[in-house]
């Protein structure tokens, strides 16, 4: 081996050793970068050595070059390893200051009113069963709210609903049933509509608010039967309250349906047992195991007459339920008045 080559190779070796000795000297990435530049930079130590390489005879160059490359890779690897260590140390230092239990920066949480939630859920089930949405005014005239629904003046059925009057002929609708009338006047059978909305009664105590929400359902076609009504409502309450819910039809009276029925469902709180698990009487159903949930019946022929449908040709069913009642059952809300106080601590609980 020529001396020239030997000197060159020794120079490289000592460069590598020199660099190795720098281990641990860099306390930061910045200092490490300085070391990198010192050895590997364009004007760094390795570059200076390479200038000597150019002066070697051509036949020595391959070996010298190979060695120079080895040293360069070794130094690069060394510095990369140190950088890794520094990075890890920095990450570790940073993690040691990280407190996962600090409170988060929460975006404001919005909410829907429980009445809206219950209404949406009910409507979704009914739309799934094939009903379409319909709406009507909240301030109604006597004809739509009463007369057309077979509730004439002087009839004791008017006492069933305490009415808020605007004038002798104009009322705040006492139920969503006038939407039945408006829908039937608008369209010929068959039709299947639901009408959710606000209704008003002159009644305010622990269990009544002067405004509340109802959903009305109406289906008219040839040969609709009470069995269809039972089927529809059974499917409906089971989707709403669970497949195990039992349904009970009790004869009742509404002027706009005949026959009429009240629908009870097995109590959602006690499962129809009438008792809580500790043996105490269930508060929701008062021990009966049943909760009244809606009223329904077969559309009265007089209602058909008032909208110009032929009662010999068409039959239909109608039902109506109170949304607050459903919301109370679903969420376990005990006090009806909370619905309209709009305390944000109440509202925030529903989303």
């Amino acid at each position: 081996m020529s001396d020239e080559l030997k000197t060159f190779l020794e120079g490289l070796d000592s460069l590598a050793r020199e660099c190795e000795a720098c281990k641990g000297q860099a306390a930061s990435l910045k200092e490490l970068e300085e070391i990198r530049v010192e050895y590997l930079g364009r004007k760094g130590k390795l570059a200076q050595n390479m200038q000597t390489l150019a002066k070697l005879p051509n036949e020595l160059k391959p070996e010298a070059g190979r060695k120079a490359n080895e040293v360069k890779q070794a130094i690069t690897a060394m510095i990369d390893a140190w950088q890794d260590e520094l990075n890890k140390a920095a990450a570790a230092a940073s993690l040691s200051r990280f407190d996962p239990s600090m409170p988060g920066r929460k975006p404001g949480v919005g909410s829907l009113h429980p009445v809206t939630l219950a209404m949406d859920e009910i409507c979704e089930v009914l739309v799934g069963l094939g009903f379409e949405h319909a709406t009507g005014p909240e301030v109604e005239n006597d004809w739509h709210n009463f007369e057309a629904l077979n509730i004439p003046q002087e009839h004791p059925a008017r006492d069933m609903q305490d009415t808020l009057y605007v004038s002798e002929n104009i009322v705040l609708r006492t139920h969503t049933s006038p939407v039945q009338i408006r829908s039937m006047l608008n369209k010929k059978p068959p039709l299947a509509v639901i009408a959710p909305g606000k209704v008003y009664r002159r009644d305010s105590d622990l269990t009544h608010t002067p405004m509340f929400h109802q959903i009305e359902g109406l289906l008219v076609d040839r040969e609709v039967s009470m069995g269809d009504l039972r089927g529809t409502l059974t499917a409906f309450v089971r989707q709403l309250f669970g497949q195990k819910t039992d349904v009970r039809f009790r004869p009742s009276f509404f002027p706009f349906t005949e026959p009429s029925a009240e629908v009870d469902i097995s109590c959602v709180m006690c499962g129809g047992e009438g008792k809580n698990q500790d043996g105490s009487t269930c508060r929701v159903c008062k021990g009966t195991g049943w909760v009244e949930i809606l009223g329904c019946g077969m559309v009265d022929p007089n209602v058909f007459k008032s909208v110009g449908y032929d009662p010999e040709l068409y039959t239909g069913f109608a039902f109506g339920l109170g949304v607050e009642r459903v919301a109370m059952l679903k969420y376990g809300i005990g006090d009806l008045r909370m619905f309209f106080e709009n305390d944000v601590r109440f509202l925030e609980q529903f989303a």
Binding site: V109, G130, N141, H155, R202, G227, P259, V344, R345
Partner: protein, 800 residues
């Protein structure tokens, strides 16, 4: 409707439990509300025997008694003048709670110990009699509970009666339903009327002016009555139904009303002038004093009972004071009538005089039963008062009852109910209910309905009977085969409901809480907001003055929500409401125009009141941000134009929100004097958006996709220094007017007011330039940008 269990069983031999009866009748449409013990409040009172009775050594008016109560002999000091040795008396022992809530304790009266109380009838709620203690019949056993000793009713069922069930307003009616439900025989009370001669019909002539208003009026005369207490059995039965006994004459009429459902009235015959009774309408404006001593002003729609000279009773509602039975009355004219329900209802409602009698008349009474009720009442009256019944009945029946006959098509009934029953079942139901069935045409029957089933007015009512008796709950549930057209069916999203739902979901997504307020507020609430008084839809019979008008502005409700929350200590209020406002509109068939609005109210801190959010209160930019978020973010409309409005009833500043030419809402700060009323200590920001307009625009709005840019943008910032009077919008508008072809967008990046400067501010904007089909060179951008800046300087009095 209260039903005494034992009284019911006088008519029908039901042997089961009251609960079983109630449950079964509930499923027949008579809903059991509760089962009560009417004498629960006296259940601990026992029968005592006064074995010794001495004068109190220290007090003349007191007696010291030894009372045997079976288990022991109690010393009781008694103040009643009528107490005496040997009497059987009701005793409340120490520890017993009296009906008025008083608890009996050991006592010492003038030095003598007393272990209980001997009770009067009034103290036990049996009568008003408080002259002395209640001396019981001698045959009662000492130590027995009073309720057992007197054989008092312990079970009363309370039913909710729907307005169609006039037939269920009597014990008899319930007995009929019980007989029907349990297939039991019905036994009517025996009639033992003894007529004493004479001729009632010749003594009193009955005249009815209008047969429609009064199809039947008949009377009996009972002479030589002695008014006094009704017999115990009758009083106890009335007490069990919560009816206070009054006198033998009145009690008999009440007894018959509860038993048979026919209200009756007793006149003092000696106060009836002219030997006649006439049923005729009142005259408009005439005065009449009812037996509660109230003078009533009548209308021509009220029906009166007149004698030969004067009105003596308000038909079916209340008798007159001028013909009332009183303590010295000797002769009774007993009325049993049928009146037109609507007439009675109208009068009772208008005069606010609801009574057990009017309640039954306005639902309809049984015209055929009327005579039996009259006779039974006359018999009981004579028996309980020592009087005698004059022979014959004074009667007019211009419109006798005719059974109503309806057709019944069994096949159609089965289709409507969704049942498949034998025709024999329906026939049996009708017959059990007292109908006469002619089924000579098997497909089309004729069913004659009895006088007491007034709810059987049409064929469909017969269907109901079949369903009801079979059990609506036994109808098989099937899902309908609906032949509803699929074409043209509204998709929920296209309906008002769907639109409202999307608005509400926006509100929730924007971090707002949905509120629902009453649609009515008080006139005061609207006045406070300086809203116009005309056009308000007022409620004629409000529950209270703060709920007497439909809101003409959504703010009225939202501000009440704010007030309630502040009172609860909730200082971070961010709510929205989607609801209608109501304006009078004479052209509408409801005389009202209803408009859907979206209201947003922001108050207090911008963020939840917790670290690490900065503690900042909401300001204009928050309410505006919500509006922009709604219009641009939710609906994808273009940016709204926001224009100051000089005058607004309750907002200042007030900014009108416009999309093109359409005004879609206003927003601003609630005027501070108004906010004060709601106890707001910080600024209240409110937006009121026209949801109907938004819906209309949304329906016409189509979202179209724009290709994403292929070439990179170049951005340049400028800072505009200018007077505070120059609004940001002016800068935007000025830049837009320059119409630089490469300028893609302009957005504000900073607002800065240098310290010490009062009338100027710096607004920094970032301008983004881009070419659709090539990468822009710096030089090209610089050239464009310089043009923009130069033009801007020419357009506005600003520095850059």
């Amino acid at each position: 409707m209260l039903v005494s269990f034992n009284w019911l069983r006088e008519f029908v031999p039901f042997e089961g439990e009251a609960q079983e009866l109630g449950d079964r009748l509930t499923m027949l449409g008579l809903e059991l509300d509760s089962i009560e013990d009417p004498f629960e409040s006296v259940q601990d009172i026992v029968v005592g025997h006064v074995v010794e009775c001495e004068k109190h050594p220290e007090a003349e008016k007191l007696s010291v008694c030894k009372v045997d109560v079976g288990s022991e002999v109690l010393e009781i000091v008694c103040g009643a003048p009528n107490v005496g040795k040997g009497q059987k008396v009701p005793v409340a022992k120490v520890g017993v709670t009296m009906p008025d809530g008083l608890k009996i304790k050991k006592a010492k009266l003038r030095g003598v110990k007393s272990f209980g109380m001997i009770c009067s009838e009034r103290e036990l709620g049996f009568s008003e009699d408080h002259d002395g203690i209640w001396v019981l019949p001698e045959n009662l056993s000492v130590g027995d509970k009073l309720v057992d000793a007197l054989n008092l009713e312990r079970t009363v069922l309370d039913f909710d009666i729907t307005p169609n069930r006039a037939d269920a307003l009597s014990i008899l009616g319930f007995a009929r339903e019980t007989a029907l439900a349990f297939d039991l025989p019905l036994t009517m009370p025996e009639l033992n009327l003894v007529e004493a001669g004479g001729d009632a019909a010749s003594e009193v002539k009955i005249v009815i002016d209008d047969a429609e208003l009064c199809p039947l009026y008949q009377s009996r005369i009972i002479r030589d009555v002695a008014t006094g207490k009704a017999p115990d059995w009758m009083r106890y039965k009335l007490l069990a139904l919560g009816q206070r006994p009054i006198s033998n004459i009145v009690d008999v009429t009440n007894y018959i009303m509860f038993e048979l459902g026919q209200p009756l009235h007793s006149f003092d015959l000696d106060l009836i002038e002219g030997g006649m009774i006439r049923v005729a309408s009142a005259e408009d404006g005439m005065k009449f004093t009812t037996l509660d001593n109230m003078e009533r002003t009548l209308t021509a729609k009220d029906l009166l009972i007149w004698d030969g000279k004067k009105p003596v009773g308000l038909a079916g509602v209340m008798g007159g004071v001028n013909s009332e039975m009183h303590a010295g009355s000797r002769n009774v004219l007993l009325e049993a009538a049928v009146f037109r329900p609507g007439t009675i209802r109208k009068t009772a409602r208008r005069l606010a005089l609801p009574s057990d009698a009017s309640y039954r008349f306005e639902r309809g009474v049984d015209q055929v039963m009327n005579t039996f009720a009259l006779n039974r009442a006359a018999q009981l009256m004579a028996e309980t008062s020592g009087g005698s019944v004059v022979s014959g009945i004074a009667k007019a029946e211009p419109k006798p009852w005719r059974d109503r006959t309806h057709r019944y098509r069994h096949a159609r009934c089965m289709k409507l109910l969704g049942l498949d029953l034998e025709p024999a079942f329906a026939k049996r139901v009708f017959e059990l209910e007292g109908c006469k069935v002619d089924d000579s045409d098997p497909a089309d029957w004729k069913v004659a309905t009895p006088s007491y089933k007034l709810d059987l007015e049409r064929e469909v009512d017969l269907y109901e009977e079949v369903g009801r008796v079979y059990g609506l709950d036994r109808i098989p549930a099937v899902l309908p085969h609906v032949s509803k057209s699929l074409e043209g069916g509204a998709v929920t999203a296209d309906t008002e409901y769907g639109f409202v739902r999307s608005l509400k979901r926006w509100g929730m997504g924007a971090g707002l809480n949905e509120a629902i307020n009453y649609s009515f507020v008080g006139d005061d609430d609207l006045d406070r907001l300086n809203l116009p008084g005309e056009g308000r839809v007022r409620i004629a019979n409000p529950l209270s003055e703060d709920q007497n008008v439909m809101r003409t502005d959504i703010a009225a409700g939202l501000l009440n929500t704010l007030k309630h929350n502040l009172a609860q200590g909730n200082n971070h209020v961010r709510v929205f409401e989607v609801a209608k406002k109501f304006i009078e509109d004479r052209d509408s068939d409801t005389e009202t125009r209803e408009q859907l609005r979206l209201g947003v109210l922001l108050y207090g801190s911008r963020h939840a009141a917790e670290w690490p959010w900065p503690q900042e209160d909401v300001d204009y930019l928050d309410i505006k941000g919500h509006v922009e978020h709604l219009l641009e973010g939710h609906f994808k409309f273009c940016a709204p134009e926001c224009v100051m409005v000089e005058e607004h009833p309750y907002l200042s500043p007030c900014v009108e929100v416009k999309l093109g030419d359409e005004r879609v809402g206003v927003m601003g700060q609630v005027k501070s004097d108004i906010a004060d009323f709601y106890h707001a200590r910080k600024d209240v920001w409110l937006a009121d958006m026209d949801a109907e307009k938004l819906w209309e625009m949304d329906r016409g709005h189509r979202v179209t996709f724009c290709c994403l840019p292929k070439f990179p943008p170049s951005r340049r910032d400028i800072t505009v220094i200018g007077s505070l009077a120059i609004h940001a919008q002016q800068v935007y508008d000025a830049i837009a007017e320059i119409k630089s072809p490469l300028l893609e967008s302009v957005e504000m990046v900073a607002e800065y007011v240098p310290e010490g400067v009062e009338d100027e501010r710096n607004l920094s904007f970032r301008l983004t330039y881009r070419h659709a089909s090539k990468t822009l060179k710096d030089k090209e951008v610089d050239k464009q940008h310089k043009r923009v800046v130069d033009e801007l300087l020419k357009k506005l009095p600003i520095r850059i």
